[in-house]
């Protein structure tokens, strides 16, 4: 009942005219960004974060959450109409969305994806509302030892389960953490890692500079480099009849919908997993449990319902650790956490006690944004079709300008803009070589938290790691982290002992 009362209070905040306005703006802009191939939620959040200072923190967060949501709806549009995923989280949507569009059922596919997104979103917001206060309560007992152990666990998950080259993931994490220590040391007050004695490094390197560099400049360069073939866009026909037809076709999809939503939520809460993994998993599960697995890949409606419900559910799920523990699990939520610090909020479980207006305003806004998103998604389809036709040369130029101005604004220092360009170029090269960049952004945000937690724990333990051994929760996290870290190493060592590695065998063949 407590939760219900808080939630009702939250609606008092989220239904303020300003917040409704930012929600509508957020979902619409989000859908546009999501619909554009190559741009996803993380790019949108990175590029637009400097603009959120226009409104108070709660509204800024509501805008960002709505944007995140809108992106999850929007990325299906490109997947279905162009056959190119609007973002990696919509890859699975192309499998059946494109064939459906090609067979003249683009309208049905779009409507199904909107309804599935809405359901996935709603189910996971309910789960979120129930779980968040409990988790935040539990997290109140966390001290620096637990905090450090939790961050360590998050990073280990990236290394062990991120699916990328493990050594490259380790490099990305370490580099992000080291770059986050540039500037003045919080404890001794000494300047450190002032490269080339440049005064611009004294105020540290903002995570935003790295994020805009990588997700703005770097991403654009990547899109320019990969040749853009002219793609055939399918023009959807949308009428009320389409919605009715879709609902009729989706009668057998309730199982898939609930599967996708619940799976998506829990996968979304895990670090290193997130919306892309969730949607691919949901697609796999739906195909496995379907009575007609052979229809998948040829325009099966459940092949759209499963990934779309899962990726929306996952985006809500990823808010859970970020908001309750103050530990984000994905690049997008890491940027939101960094944004909270910039807006003057102290992330962590205390937020629920100290800033109920913020937390419950945000949670209740998710319900409202979801409703706006499904309406906007269906009503503005022609607008999104128009946006998909905007030539890339215009889009890229505008995004570059936004990156440069957005990189300058927070610190008013051109030093940061040059640094951003450097990160963009480096990010472009590293991304090409399969270095994962999300953990780097994540570690940049978590670096100061991790270092402080570690140093405080060590000081409390008189210079020994005894604190980590005395506190059961911290110890458990660390043991899981060690286990996750060593298992693949052991497996790899065993695999390397077998002389002809499959990769080499392929080359000879």
């Amino acid at each position: 009942m407590d939760i219900l009362a808080s939630l009702l209070d939250g609606f008092g905040t989220s239904l303020l005219p300003l917040n409704i306005a930012v929600m509508i703006a957020g979902v619409t802009v989000g859908m546009l960004i999501g619909a554009l191939p190559g741009l996803g939620s993380v790019n949108g959040v990175a590029i637009l974060l400097p603009l959120t200072f226009l409104v108070p923190p709660t509204s800024a967060m509501i805008f960002m959450a709505a944007l995140y949501y809108g992106c999850m709806y929007g990325d299906a549009i490109a997947s279905i109409l162009l056959g190119i995923p609007g973002a990696s989280s919509a890859v699975a949507t192309t499998f059946d969305g494109r064939p459906m569009a090609m067979s003249g059922k683009a309208g049905v596919a779009l409507t199904a994806s909107a309804i599935a997104s809405f359901t996935g979103g709603t189910v996971s917001i309910v789960l979120f509302t129930v779980l968040a206060p409990t988790l935040a309560d539990a997290a109140l007992a966390f001290g620096p030892a637990e905090e450090f152990a939790l961050v360590l666990l998050a990073f280990t998950t990236f290394v062990a389960l991120g699916g990328q080259d493990r050594f490259k993931t380790v490099i990305a994490i370490c580099l992000g953490l080291v770059l986050s220590t540039v500037g003045l040391d919080m404890i001794s007050g000494q300047p450190r890692l002032i490269f080339g004695d440049l005064p611009g490094f004294y105020h540290g390197i903002s995570f935003l500079v790295l994020a805009i560099g990588i997700y703005g400049i770097g991403e654009m360069l990547n899109t320019i480099e990969s040749t853009r073939n002219k793609v055939a866009m399918v023009q959807p026909r949308m009428t009320l009849g389409t919605v009715r037809e879709t609902l009729r076709e989706m009668r057998g999809s309730i199982g898939t919908l609930s599967q996708g939503s619940v799976l998506g939520f829990f996968v979304g809460t895990l670090p290193a997993a997130g919306a892309t993994t969730a949607s691919l998993m949901a697609y796999g599960v739906a195909k496995m449990t379907s009575r007609h697995p052979e229809r998948f890949g040829k325009g099966e409606i459940n092949g759209i319902v499963a990934p779309e419900s899962a990726n929306n559910a996952a985006s809500t799920g990823s808010f859970l650790p970020m908001l309750t523990l103050g530990i984000p699990g994905s690049a997008t939520t890491a940027l939101l956490l960094g944004g909270m610090v910039l807006w003057g909020l102290q992330p962590g479980p205390m937020l629920f006690i100290e800033q109920p207006e913020f937390t419950w305003g945000l949670i209740s806004s998710l319900y409202v944004s979801n409703v706006f998103a499904v309406i906007a998604n269906l009503a503005f389809i022609p607008l999104f079709c128009y946006a998909l036709r905007v030539p890339f040369t215009i889009l890229a130029a505008v995004i570059f300008v936004l990156c440069v101005v957005g990189g300058y604004a927070p610190s008013s220092d051109m030093h940061d803009v040059w640094l951003m360009l450097g990160f963009g170029l480096a990010g472009f090269v590293l991304c090409r070589l399969d270095y994962p960049l999300a953990p780097m952004v994540l570690s940049m945000v978590l670096g100061p938290i991790m270092e402080n937690a570690l140093r405080q724990s060590l000081i409390a333990g008189q210079g020994t790691p005894s604190l980590f051994l005395e506190r059961p929760i911290a110890l458990t996290f660390i043991l899981i982290a060690v286990l996750l870290f060593t298992l693949p190493a052991v497996k790899m060592a065993l695999a390397n002992r077998r002389p002809p590695a499959p990769a080499l065998a392929e080359e000879k063949a």
């Binding site: 490259k168 400049i217 480099e225 300008v401």
Partner: protein, 170 residues
């Protein structure tokens, strides 16, 4: 034959990262990296040991790439696709020029020129569209950043021309 193959870039980047981590270790060691009595671990400890881990990981990537165990290290094709090289160069060059021009003449001259280059030269759009963007973008930027966000964007030599606007809006 391409000289800049993906394999060579992979090896080069891994080697650069290894050297960079050595540099980071040296730079971190300017602060105490051990235990400072009464203060806990020194200010350089956290970055120093992380750089050390990064060095080991870079060496591992280098070794694995040398033996062809990472996918990019088996890429004998060009790192930059043939055909997109000049375009990519033009874009990166225009970004560098944009930043240099901002120092000199400020955003309100540099950005319209940057847009003109991208829209007219790279995109071959009409002069009408190009001109519209050249005028609209700085106006919107001024209203959003200077008026609403109270953030002064760099203006370089053109600063004096903005005094009347400041008087009007701020």
């Amino acid at each position: 034959m391409h000289t800049l193959t993906t394999r060579r870039v992979e090896l080069g980047v891994a080697a650069t990262l290894a050297l960079f981590s050595l540099y980071l270790m040296a730079k971190s060691a300017e602060l105490p990296i051990g235990w400072v009595s009464g203060q806990g671990p020194g200010g350089g400890a956290f970055p120093f040991w992380l750089s050390a881990i990064m060095l080991l990981a870079s060496l591992a990537v280098l070794a694995r790439a040398w033996r062809g165990l990472t996918p990019p290290s088996r890429g004998e094709g060009a790192f930059i696709q043939v055909g997109s090289g000049p375009l990519l160069g033009a874009v990166v060059g225009s970004l560098v020029a944009l930043l240099l021009a901002i120092h000199l003449v400020g955003v309100y001259v540099a950005i319209p020129l940057f847009l003109a280059f991208h829209l007219r030269v790279l995109g071959s759009h009409s002069w009408r569209l190009t001109a519209t963007m050249m005028v609209a973008t700085p106006v919107v930027l001024f209203l959003v950043f200077e008026v609403a966000l109270k953030t002064m964007l760099p203006k370089g030599l053109t600063e004096p021309f903005f005094y009347p606007l400041y008087a009007l809006f701020l």
